[in-house]
Amino acid sequence: MMEFYEANKDLLLFAGASAVKVLVFLNAVMGFTALLTLAERKVSALMQDRIGPNRASLFGLALNGLFQPVADGIKMVMKEDFVPGRAEKLLFALAPFFALVPVLALFSVIPFGDYVMVFGYKFDLQIADLPLGLFMVLALSGLAIYGVFLGGWSAKNNFALLGAMRGAAQMVSYEVVLGLTLAGLLMIFGSAGLQDIVRAQGRLLFGWLPAWGVVYQPFAFILFLVAAIAENKRTPFDLVEGESEIIGYFMEYSSMRFAAFMFAEFVEIILVSMLAATLFFGGWQVPYLYETGFILPGGAQLPLNHYLVSAMQVGAFAAKTVFFSWFLLVVRWTLPRFRFDQLMNLCWTRLLPLALLNILITGAVLLALGKV
């Protein structure tokens, strides 16, 4: 036993650390998702001069609606789990997992901090530092189409099938744009590892401007945001499900299976926010904060403890995520929905040429600067 331990010490340490990271990070994400379902209703309420849910209470304690996600969850569990008689039972049961699992798996490549030293060991604050993390993101988000399509097809309902067709067409189209908008970043940072990209954004341009992705590629950031919202199936691109009017792919789903689809959508909001923060807004980088503390452009220094620096970086990442999640909620409750032909037009005749143009210009500038 001891020999096995001594021989595989590094492996065991890695496995243990990874398990802890998965548990902590995924639970943080799930908790934030639950709060996001409440935030969506509260933010929309405040935008429309309303109050929002504030009645759900525990032992008479309402806390302005903080227990609403719990009430929603209990309600979802108590609902009848209905399966249509002619449905493909197995695929019908699997579809919610196909929607949820790829989205959750994506969090493994997102760096939520630099590293921490514990008992002399160095732990990266990222579950899996894949050298091709960016491609992992694109590949797995492509898998999410299966959840949509299986959900719509296996119910054997023509309207659900139509919704699934719309959804698959939309997701496939915007997948292309999403990938192409990120190509510019790949060319600039020269790495597809998300941690490398974040570290590269810690540099300063002209001695004072943080070299965040949005500084290099402001245009790609807008395209990315549009494509990501479309990929996420949120308003103004929510005609996949069309909560209020159009019939969507999960129309035959009820109870927790339906909740899984909804949950996947909310997890995707967090994912898009984290990706936007990671790729374009410096991830966990705080401007002028380095491993040893603040070093301002003027030369002023403020040395800080390692743990304080790490906590600030993780906090900065969380703050950026929260900001973008809020921004996506505001976008969702501001804009009206596209028509399907407008959606396809926007993707193939506007966004795609613009994304290609962005790559061309990025390449030309890099060539002119002699960085290639």
Partner: protein
């Protein structure tokens, strides 16, 4: 006279066709509302209804929970004529008439039920009543209960005079007034 409203259908200019500046403008509006309401929740016009009520405007004061007026001797002013039940468009009034043993002139409602769950608060019963016996001026707004049966009002729940109301004397009917006078109650 036909009023004509001119709609501005000019084609979108270049900035508007770009879509993004207009999106930014829209986001600015909603974001302003968000932050104004976030830091000043008192400004939100929402009323937490069952716990908190607004003073009713004038006309609405005559469209609140029903009551049946009571005479000085405690008998209902209602004579069970079924006018309100006939006038009611929601069929929410149910009356069963009965006769006084010693009164040859009037009937009285042995049963007078109003199902507030069906009532549309139109006030037609009040207008129909020839005796001015039913009124909708209690200023209580029905609804917001957890049990549907709580919305079924019986005779006893309906019979009430408002505080400070001059005690009602007599009936509008001459024969009934004569009868009441003979009993020394008018």
């Amino acid at each position: 006279m036909i009023s004509v409203k001119k709609v501005d259908n000019r084609p979108l200019n270049f900035l508007e066709r770009l879509y993004l500046p207009e999106i930014a403008r829209g986001l600015l509006v909603t974001t302003r509302h968000f932050f104004v309401n976030l830091f000043n929740p008192k400004g939100i016009p929402t009323v937490q209804y069952p716990e908190q009520t607004l003073p009713l405007p004038h006309a609405a004061r005559e469209r609140t929970r029903h009551r049946l007026k009571v005479r000085a001797d405690g008998s209902p002013k209602c004579v069970a004529c079924f006018m309100c039940q006939t006038a009611c468009p929601a069929y929410c009034i149910h009356i069963e008439a009965a006769e006084y043993p010693d009164n040859p002139v009037e009937k009285y409602p042995a049963v007078f039920d109003i199902d507030l769950a069906r009532c549309v608060m139109c006030g037609m019963c009040v207008e129909a009543c020839p005796e001015d016996a039913i009124a909708m001026d209690t200023l209580e707004i029905p609804g917001g209960v957890l049990d549907r049966n709580a919305l079924k009002l019986g005779r006893e729940a309906l019979l009430r005079n408002l505080a400070g109301e001059p005690s009602l004397k007599g009936a509008s009917n001459r024969l009934a007034n004569d009868y009441l006078k003979s009993r020394g109650q008018a």
